[in-house]
Symmetry: D2
Subunit: 285 residues, 4 copies
């Protein structure tokens, strides 16, 4: 079933649900799902509304009319149509487990998106790209070439009409300019339980500290490293007899699952960024 | 903040959200929370709506007007006011961990209900009741006295104006008549992961089968033993070196948490029974 | 570091640890790991002992001497050398998520085994096999050809010198003769939380029953369907708004992880079957 | 069944298991459980060995002989007898959930220890102590009286012959002298997932940072706040719609369970401190 999803954000005020749902009811839309959240600390209201798209109403007309309605009560909003799936680029380096996982989930229909582009700063995953018949661009990076490399990445993102960039264990820090330009459209996986163990070698940090749980964190990239809004986290219990190498190995499954969960939420248009926090509306039919 | 919670159920049809939320918007209610679910397999729509109760609208008037509105679109509904907390009776036998847990959560404000009545078929937990200054009624039971005992339970439930009966490891089977009379108002905790390990000694059954996970299940009691609609379940991983006695011990924490979670959902008016299934709306402010 | 692993089982008796560890100490072995378990209900003792294999002691000589020692105290035992990894065959049908997962874990060194053979009763996964440069044998099956098909499977298992057969969502029932011949060497993944939801369509059964948790179970195949000794299980919480199709999708990650965990335990020679139960010694360096 | 438990630590060397287990085998001890761990990074060996105590061997004689044996291979060791359960003091302030939980687990036999002493810096939990017939000492604390208060605590610990001090949400910082004197014998529960969210108000910190998981950490107290060796941790998933107050409430169950798990490990003599890390041997019969 085709669907239309609106994400809406505005100052909290009375009558919002009634007002918004009436807008769609008057246009004969069947509401498949409606979720909302009020952040009482900052007085903001957030809504996700999913409509059946049986073609009875022209998309352009809908957007025009909703835009007019929204301006009357000062709504911020965005809309996606299930017919136009997100286009996702993977930034990779040498580690294969996260990119492989995303490619498989695309293949098996778990992630309803297109992954038309893989960019690696090393050649290691070129074979992986070939396995899945994906174009692979090798863009090596050094201190001197960083700016040129990012320019080339941007060119490719434009060429392939990319909506979402996934740093699938890319292990490079994107420049502030780059991150700002694609704000809210870059998802990174950090192999640690943020905000603990920021920076390099988080599993080794975790081992040193003697924690009994390791974790991974998917978040939007921001100019401050490992400080962006968190989308998903998960953990695994560990024991004294797990070496740092064990932790690295055990962490792979958490990284895969957490990154996939974050990408899934984004491409299902279920996330609104609210300052340092994210609203992640729950999955549903 | 005082609140009013409606649970609503009806045949799925267009315009429901808009219609219902408009009803409350027209009466100047602030909607704190609105959750819904459509069971597309049976074509039923379910909603929970939580309103701020600032006293501007008389409760009786509200019910009268909503009743009239509801009849026009054939809604089933119920309402609760946070000012009138659920009154809960505990049925207990010898095991103390579940009843203790509920009493503590009442004491610490985690469960916003009143527990004015404890009934035991043994005297073992009389001291526990005394610790918490609760009336304890010792109603022993044998095959011959079962009917009379249940009659006495019913008399006490009426006397204490009880809304919800919690079988906190009561280990007795209530008669079909009893269960039918209090349908949807009796929560039982089964110390197994239903539908596996129904009946007696579930931890021993689990040990025999060699499972690697044990669980507990809170459900509404129905005439068929261990077959009622499930409200909450949780599990714990076990290993080969855990004896049946270990499982019994380890299971206590799961039983406590699962039962408390189910009772909390019920007294927050978050559950609608849908045949053999339950809709449990998520927690929120 | 190369290693030697012994699995030992015998009637419980005093002095076992001292006796066995002294055997290896006298031969100048460094014990890397020693785990044991006593099943007091049946009076059986189980041990896993992992030795550093620095080449100072000939393998054949070790086995001969241990064999003599074992006969004096009536030990059952087996030994594996890390230099000779398990050879694993995959039986597959149409579902790709489990076989893909195992192939990736082999590729990334998470599973230290060789997977030299994939057999499918449909052609759907031939491409997957090609992606990983693995031989794929298409052996279709009907009621009439079942015996011949199994004979051909056996021939391939022998030809490829296979130690372990993994039914990676094979969805066919192997004959009693087959299962008996390869007893303790066939791992199956059941997409339900055994012993609940045996048989077909477990996720649909789970939905019908309204459970709040779904699971998967990896077990050794035995003549009785879904009754073999359980190796690993895991679960995921679900909600009222997850459709049967959602459960199928959500279940994939549990199936992958549970099957991988079971295969890993087997190829690390960490499992002893004890009647209907398994002893699964914990992971370690 | 009575039992004797040895914890042993020494430089790693060949023949340790054989040597130590032979010591006990020669004295006709039945070994119920033997666990070991080698920290290869620092070259240290750790063992826990549990013996059946059928009275055939005098405890004093055993200790004398083992002491002599230990000196020959430079072992650090300690021993506990199940007949002499740990004596535990609770330090409390106003929050009741952790101390209540420990008292209940003692009552129900889940924690095989004695809790003969409760010390509070406020009177709030005096009633709780009375409910369980425990002596309660009210020792208020100000900047001026801190030293005198700690002296009085020490006097009580001596008077009641206390082995283990549990800071059951005590919310006070013990002086460096105090902590050093009782090194390895003070367990604290921190209501955050260390090393994230050290210091005050961890749930509020977690909310601000927008994490999707909250946790609790039980650790040995050291002079550096929240830096002591971690014994146990656990977590709970949270969502965008959980307020800081929700997190506080939801965290209680994690705190209870994590603290109880740590205390249980300590009183079962299953923990060895290894620098900033702990070895926590697994539970077993």
């Amino acid at each position: 079933m085709s669907a239309i999803v609106f994400l809406i954000q505005c100052k909290d005020q009375k009558g919002l649900v009634a007002g918004i749902t009436s807008f769609f009811a008057e246009r004969q839309f069947n509401i498949l799902h409606c979720q909302q959240y009020t952040d009482t600390e900052v007085g903001q209201y957030f809504m996700r509304i999913k409509l059946e798209d049986d073609g009875h109403f022209n998309h352009q007309k809908l957007e025009a009319e909703f835009s007019q309605f929204a301006s009357t009560i000062d709504l911020n909003w965005s809309v996606r149509y299930s017919e136009e799936p997100y286009r996702v680029a993977l930034l990779v380096t040498r580690a294969s487990h996260c990119p492989y996982d995303l490619l498989l989930r695309e293949l098996e229909g778990e992630l309803k998106c297109d992954i038309p582009l893989i960019i690696g700063n090393h050649r290691d995953l070129e074979d992986m790209a070939r396995q899945f018949d994906k174009p692979f661009y090798h863009l090596p990076i050094t201190a001197e070439t960083k700016q040129a490399q990012e320019a080339e990445i941007k060119r490719l993102l434009a060429e392939f009409d990319i909506d979402l960039i996934v740093m699938a264990r890319y292990m490079q820090i994107l420049s502030e300019d780059f991150v700002t330009e694609f704000s809210g459209r870059i998802i990174n996986i950090h192999h640690g339980f943020l905000p603990a163990f920021q920076g390099a070698k988080p599993y080794h940090q975790a081992y040193e500290r003697g924690v009994k749980i390791i974790g991974a964190t998917a978040h939007y990239a921001t100019a401050e490293l490992d400080e962006g809004p968190i989308i998903a986290q998960d953990i695994q219990h560990v024991q004294h007899d797990n070496s740092p190498q064990d932790l690295v190995m055990m962490g792979k499954d958490i990284e895969r699952i957490v990154l996939a969960r974050a990408v899934k939420a984004h491409i299902e248009h279920r996330i609104i960024i609210n300052g340092r926090r994210t609203i992640v509306f729950s999955e549903g039919a």
